[in-house]
Symmetry: D2
Subunit: 344 residues, 4 copies
């Protein structure tokens, strides 16, 4: 029988009970639609408390929406967005950013999933040449797609390069909570203090039901956003049920506790797996994901019991994610099973 | 003090307890993301039971998403979509259908909010002329934006006209439940049996938390839809929580009971308002909305206690909607207050 | 036998010999591509002499390109463009403006093809409402699609309304030469002096081979235009052959002589047709087109010898255009033939 | 003083006198606009004679238009187009293909500018996965951007791979004439016989004034094209002047003679340059371009007299193109000057 919790993805986890409680709690009487309600006001105030009072924040349905719309606010259609070759916006959103912004995404090879100023500089060219798309945004993913976390100084130099060259720094923060927890930073220190201009703040993988926020650290960039949100089909009528998710996550720093827990489970998993000499951990485990190279023949056998994704077919690398609800027992059972299949 | 329930919109109502219960019930362990889970399978089976086994159905976040994506599946960018001048897709979606499909929407004047074959015929021209957009879809709203309901034979003739002219019939069914309840039809009789090709089936206004379904009555039209859904930023990762809403609404025909109730409250409201000679009901009350012409001077006074939308500024027409949770007492209190302000 | 010149359209005429001479004259050796050549410099200087030294001007292939790209420079995708219901951009460009800008076009009913402030005001609503597209441009056609010409004060009031409401005034000037000739205004007096912000200046119908210019009266609006032109597929590599057409038309005011001639031929045609009591001229003949209501039975018979377009099928209105090359004899022969078919 | 002819680009050359003669020749009386004229019929017949009677062909303004529109005819917005990293559509069209099609372009590293089946295979993945764009087109450039020419069997294997995997093979033929001349193939043997599905056939660089054709070898793919052409702002009203250019180039095989001449001049240039040991020819000279690595210090000195483009800044590689009008004397003078600057 399949276990009730897998290591496939942090979005395979359910909703944290504390979040569901808040959803039920705001389900009282009528509330004006589309965000003009008291629950949304409260959630916005909480964002301002964590990110600074001058931000603008908008709630949307999911991470792809947050990314594509946030990028739209920073670009015109002839612009280019520089990102990692493995970036979610480049690989996993079925072209949504291109379709909604009209821009070209310029993929850059990375080590450990993180852009560097050197790599960005090589992609930054053709400036002022009417035949070329014009680089306008550097987009990073924090924590990255391969479970690594940008160091503060790495983000600061990317921000500096961006701003010196008339560009913006965008961050896909589907796992920003995991990154901040990993770095022991508060949310502001982990984002606007480093020079990020626009952030997709993901709630879904952090215990939410389904919600993302687009946070603008310079309110002027948000001037048109409410129209882009509606035209981008991302304006919820019963907004209070998105807002409640953020409120729940901010309550008693649930966002942080969830992230810390998931990170800790990933380190636990890593530690146990490292004892098996036939398993190679291929990226530093800095957030809630473990990327392991295992014998190709083991994959199908493992997947019989545990659903998970192959990350790199050729290299036989698999991705195992921990969630807010992963237990130590889950890890132990999983590693035991792995060790049965991948014998040391 | 403002009353806890208004007549502003059926999306100001909260989530039906039965729906919330289902959401909590599916919150068990992990489930594969993006719709490959058992809860989504169950909801799809329920749709097939109601709409026919050959349909294809996809869940999305909201009505604007359902409309724009459903229309995309039927069109190329040089096509035109014929709709009522007051259609939600024309007036209230901030250009989302145009942006996502590239098409032009051709607005048609209507009486009582309903397209007629005659009006559509007048908008159907320029066929084969490369300078003109090519009409490809007729889009109706059932129940309509002004609370009226197309008769079966009206839809049937629009479908016939569409199909005879190489077009499709699309229905924005944000309130299809209210229409079916009004006509005492089951869902299939109210839609595919009349020749509708693609339906946006709205759960949000019917007691849901936030979910819409795109129903294709000819599966071939759905061949590319999963890609459009993702590129259109409407693919939920924790899909089970959308699916659960539909499951709840189909359970014991909650969708029908909610719709019948809202419709009944609207008729109750209409009946009471009609006794006031200074209030004129301007559209037949056939679903859950009442459109009333009232003295202009009364509007602001009423809005002090009850939030609602002005429908037609010049004509001083207001829109009052009933919901699954509107009570007879709500209606009574509201009418009493209206009568205080608009004295007979 | 068909006559060599018809009254179907001013774009059915060929190239004026003076224009062809300029094209041959610039065909000397190599010239840097994409507009960085001396011939283009010269043409730009001529534009500045006619329109003012602070303009920015860009050459494109055709009128649809000039319109769609000029409108793009003024809008974001959530904006709306208010135009006449018969506007070329609304009816005859197969949705190119919508496709390239993402905007909705709001059609307004007109009398004699001309927008009025009153009509525009009625279409200007939903401001600041995130559900609604936001009006951003008023677009007029000068001379209009039905051969009428806006009076200077009419344009001035539309410009004033636009600017007071945070909008721009765009003019489709496919026949701006005919309008200026009709009003006895120079080009600057006919455009920027009246408050037009962006102009499509058409050469094709005025004796060109195929060229249009987008003229920005506020250079700041043109900041991104060279990128939009390239991304809009409207950047000519051998630009000198577009530039030469403008140079030829400005040489000795050929543009004006061509327009005056075409206008004069239209008045001649009108005068002769008016003598036939079975022909009704339906719009004031103020530029180079004559719109006539004729017996429906005559249309096919006339088209056997003369190709032309039916303007309004139901009303039996036809469109007859004069060109730079229409001769008095052409008019006479045509009217004689018309009188044979439509007997007085 | 600068010489009258440079080696900057084959689009810096003027119009071949034979082409200009045809343009003047069709400038007789009126012709119906938008392609419904006898001159266009003639040009279409000539295309059918060269490419086969079952083709469909459409004339557009330029290469970017031909590429973006041709690709649109083959794709939906969720598709991907596999191309070389140096492809014109990827690098030099300011994102026009992405903007018009909505697709993502997947750049592939190449040797000598040519795609291989192996490289394409590596980019072909994520098939059926809704998160990924779906590869639909392989696009090659023949002759390539670096002056090389695909061998017939290379194209044939790419076509075979494409068709076996539900994809199309598109060719950017801005220099298809040079490629066919180089391979001593007729146009059909060089294109449809090898499995190409859609071809951009460039006239501009081959002695034209400005014209491109989109050739569909399977007419069914062209069903919607006339609408895309108009919506893509690429429909010429005075079409006869585009058609005349093709007619001229087909007359007495001028297209072939122009291409053969340009290719021969490139080989002459190559031969002379190879004698200078400080100049390294970096790509096989198979068409009309020579790519040379020269001392970085020489570049600015050479550009003082001869305008040309730097191809690769870091590697100090320059691009020198020959045209239909390049003379042996031009080559000799240029090489003499190069040898003065880059001393052996």
């Amino acid at each position: 029988m399949r276990p009730s919790r897998s290591f496939a993805s942090d979005n395979n986890a359910g909703v944290h009970p504390g979040v569901l409680k808040f959803i039920a709690a705001v389900n009282q009487g009528h509330a004006v639609g589309y965000g003009d309600d008291a629950y949304t006001d409260r959630a916005v105030r909480q964002f301002k408390r964590h990110f600074g009072k001058d931000i603008e924040v908008f709630f949307v349905f999911n991470g792809t929406g947050a990314n594509a719309l946030g990028l739209r606010a920073l670009t015109n259609s002839y612009h280019a967005i520089i990102c990692a070759q493995a970036a979610h916006i480049y690989v996993d959103e079925c072209g949504a950013p291109e379709k909604f912004t009209g821009c070209k995404l310029l993929p850059v090879r990375t080590e450990n999933g993180k852009l560097t100023v050197e790599a960005v500089r090589a992609a930054y060219h053709g400036i002022g040449d009417q035949h070329h798309v014009q680089p306008r945004v550097i987009s990073i993913t924090q924590a990255s797609e391969v479970g690594t976390v940008y160091r503060p100084e790495e983000i600061r130099s990317l921000a500096q390069f961006a701003h010196q060259h008339g560009m913006f720094l965008h961050a896909d923060g589907a796992r920003i909570a995991n990154a901040a927890a990993s770095l022991k930073q508060n949310l502001r220190a982990a984002t606007s203090d480093l020079g990020i201009d626009v952030l997709s703040f993901g709630a879904t993988k952090n215990g939410g039901l389904g919600a993302d926020a687009v946070v603008f650290f310079d309110a002027r960039l948000a001037a048109d956003f409410r129209f882009y949100r509606k035209q981008g089909m991302q304006l919820a009528s019963k907004m209070r049920f998105l807002s409640a998710q953020f409120a729940a996550l901010f309550e008693g720093d649930l966002w942080l506790r969830n992230a810390q827990h998931a990170n800790r489970m990933a380190r636990l998993l890593e530690g146990k797996l490292r004892r098996n000499p036939n398993i190679k951990i291929v990226y530093p485990v800095e957030a809630n994901g473990v990327f392991a190279q295992i014998p190709a023949s083991a994959i199908a056998k493992l997947q019989k019991r545990y659903f998970f994704y192959l990350w790199d077919d050729e290299q036989s690398v698999v991705r195992w994610m921990c969630s807010w609800d992963t237990s130590e027992q889950d890890v132990e059972q999983f590693v035991n099973f792995v060790n049965q299949i991948v014998r040391a």
